[in-house]
């Protein structure tokens, strides 16, 4: 019984540790439809918080990855300097003061890549591991 408990605790530790290490080591690339320019972090922050809707006069649409995804979690930490709860709370207020709705959410990096490639003036993010040649990389962190 004791052995089973130790094994369980060890598994839990390994699971938590691996999740943290994945989060820490994940590199994010912000990608955009061909033709969109490189972006700095403040601009990306504004785009994903609804405070900017255009780049150089071009209306753009941003897409998120759905919650409970490590790539989204790392993107929020690195680019927006907030966690899931703060981001959700921010959009809850913004939605109910009538100043916009959160970005469209896609399930995976693969879907994000497909969406960005098939829709003009769109911006999203993926893990660098899911990056492939030919993507328009706007920022990397």
């Amino acid at each position: 019984m004791k052995k089973i408990r130790i094994v369980s605790l060890l598994s839990l530790f390994i699971w938590i540790y691996s999740d943290l290490s994945v989060a820490a080591s994940t590199h994010i690339v912000v990608i955009g439809h061909p033709g969109l320019p490189k972006l700095d972090v403040p601009t990306i922050q504004k785009l994903f918080t609804g405070r900017a809707v255009e780049i150089n006069g071009r209306s753009v649409t941003v897409v998120n990855i759905a919650p409970n995804n490590t790539v989204r979690k790392v993107f929020l930490e690195k680019y927006l300097e907030q966690d899931e709860d703060k981001y959700l709370a921010y959009w809850t207020v913004r939605r109910f003061i009538g100043k916009g709705t959160p970005p469209k959410e896609l399930v995976s990096s693969t879907e994000v890549v497909e969406y960005i490639q098939s829709h003009s003036d769109t911006i999203g993010y993926i893990s660098v591991d899911d990056s492939k040649p030919g993507l328009n990389i706007l920022s990397e962190m």
Binding site: P42, K46, R51, A52, V53, E54, G57, S59, V60, T61, V62, D85, K86, L88, A89, T92, V93, R95, F96, I97, G98, K99, G100, T101, K104
Partner: protein
């Protein structure tokens, strides 16, 4: 009619089929179930007494956002909440119906039915999960029964190295009902109890908000409300002392608001100055404070000042807080209430019953406030969209009843009212 037109316009826009790929429908909703109980048999803020009520803050709302493109959208929000124009009933209504257009990063234009950005939480005051206190302080948020209007608003923002500046300007028209509670009524003329007068309000204003990089908030606003009687009645802001009958009872006087020389209005201008701040302090403390000052143009002595300060600490999912709030009308109005409340003629004189009742009715009709309150409370967030809260408030009612419905006889003054609130709020 204006409301109907604006709502219809937005509904038609929602129903217009744009290119299928471009449009996106987003449903969301919010709700609060709130139970409030006081230690007094009389009602505070219309419905809270020692029997307890769900009618003070319980609200359910649904919102449909239609995103036509990244910079053009329509919002429709309906809610069920306690009615503004009757007691103990629920009122389903369209609270928001507007179109938003963001032609550039720093501009947002909206047209339709929306809410005046009067106070820090004015626009989201129905959405309990967006703040931690169980009840927004009545001394500020309880004054305006509604702040929805039909019109337009323009928002302009400036991003600077040190933070972001935002200016909101709006202009429009709304409807509301002004509530008066008469403890005794006037025999044969007007019944005791609550009375609602329909009012149209033209509202316009400017609010300047500054968010430094640390997410503090500073806001100053100047608003001008022009209430106008919607049923062709007029009202007075003054009373005059008139003799009862110089022959029958020399030296006996009483007060009336319909004597010659008293100005009557069917519309007035009411400027409002509002200041608000929310500061993120060390050790996860937050200090939120708001203050407003308003007056009636042409009757500048009739002023109201209100404000509060809330100190809150975040401890993981818990948010204990303490609030001090105050609301006070100008001294001239407070004195007038006391004069009218104490005014009476000898009961043996003909017509004394009606005249004495009219003195109390005139006193009750003065929209005067004088109260302070202390609140301690705590919120627990299951998640950012699910919160349970409770708070205890001690209201010190001063010289005038204010939010209290005085029972028959003498008006309530210089008493304490204790309130207990338990609420659960959610959004999805």
């Amino acid at each position: 009619m204006r409301h109907l037109t604006a709502t219809t316009f937005v509904l038609l826009t929602l129903a217009t089929p744009p290119p299928a790929e471009a449009v996106e429908f987003l449903f969301s909703g919010y709700g609060t179930v709130s139970y409030a109980l006081s230690d007094r048999p009389y009602a505070y803020q219309r419905s809270i007494d020692n029997h307890g009520t769900l009618l003070s803050d319980t609200t359910l709302g649904l919102q449909l956002d239609t995103r036509f493109s990244s910079n053009f959208s329509a919002t429709l929000q309906g809610k069920v909440a306690p009615a503004n124009d009757t007691e103990k009933q629920w009122d389903p209504k369209i609270s928001w119906a507007f179109l938003s257009w963001q032609p550039a990063n720093s501009w947002m234009l909206r047209a339709g039915k929306m809410r005046v950005p009067l106070y820090l939480n004015a626009e989201n005051k129905d959405v309990g999960v967006t703040f931690d206190v169980a009840r927004l302080p009545a001394e500020v948020y309880g004054i305006a029964p509604t702040s929805d209007f039909v019109g337009g608003s323009i928002t302009k923002s400036w991003s600077r190295e040190e933070g972001e500046w935002i200016v909101d300007a709006y202009w429009g028209q709304g409807n509301t009902d002004i509530r008066t509670y008469l403890r005794d009524g006037i025999p044969g003329t007007i019944a005791a109890g609550e009375h609602y007068a329909p009012v149209e309000i033209e509202a316009r204003g400017l609010a300047l908000t500054y968010h430094p990089k640390n997410n503090d908030t500073y806001r100053v606003g100047f608003h001008l409300a022009t209430p106008k009687s919607a049923n062709n009645t007029s009202w007075a802001y003054d009373v005059a002392e008139v003799p009862y009958n110089a022959l029958l009872a020399p030296g006996v006087h009483y007060y009336t608001d319909s004597a010659p020389g008293i100005k009557r209005y069917n519309q007035v201008n009411m400027p409002i100055l509002a200041f608000g701040t929310s500061l993120n302090l060390p050790e996860d403390y937050t200090l939120t404070a708001e203050y407003f000052h308003n007056w009636v143009q042409g009757e500048e002595a009739l002023t109201v000042d209100g404000g509060y300060a809330t100190l809150l600490k975040k401890i993981d999912k818990w948010s204990p807080y303490v609030t001090f709030a105050g609301l006070r009308s100008g001294s001239r109005l407070l004195k007038r209430y006391q004069t009218l409340n104490a005014s009476s003629i000898p009961g043996l004189l003909p017509g004394a019953t009606v005249i004495n009742a009219s003195q109390r009715a005139l006193a009750d009709a003065q929209t005067a406030f004088d109260q302070t309150s202390w609140t301690i409370g705590i919120a627990y967030a299951f998640s950012p969209v699910s919160k349970i809260k409770t708070e205890w408030t001690n209201v010190r009612v001063g010289e005038v009843p204010g939010f209290v419905d005085s029972p028959s006889g003498n008006g309530v003054s210089n008493q304490n009212v204790n309130l207990l609130t338990l609420s659960y709020s959610f959004a999805f």
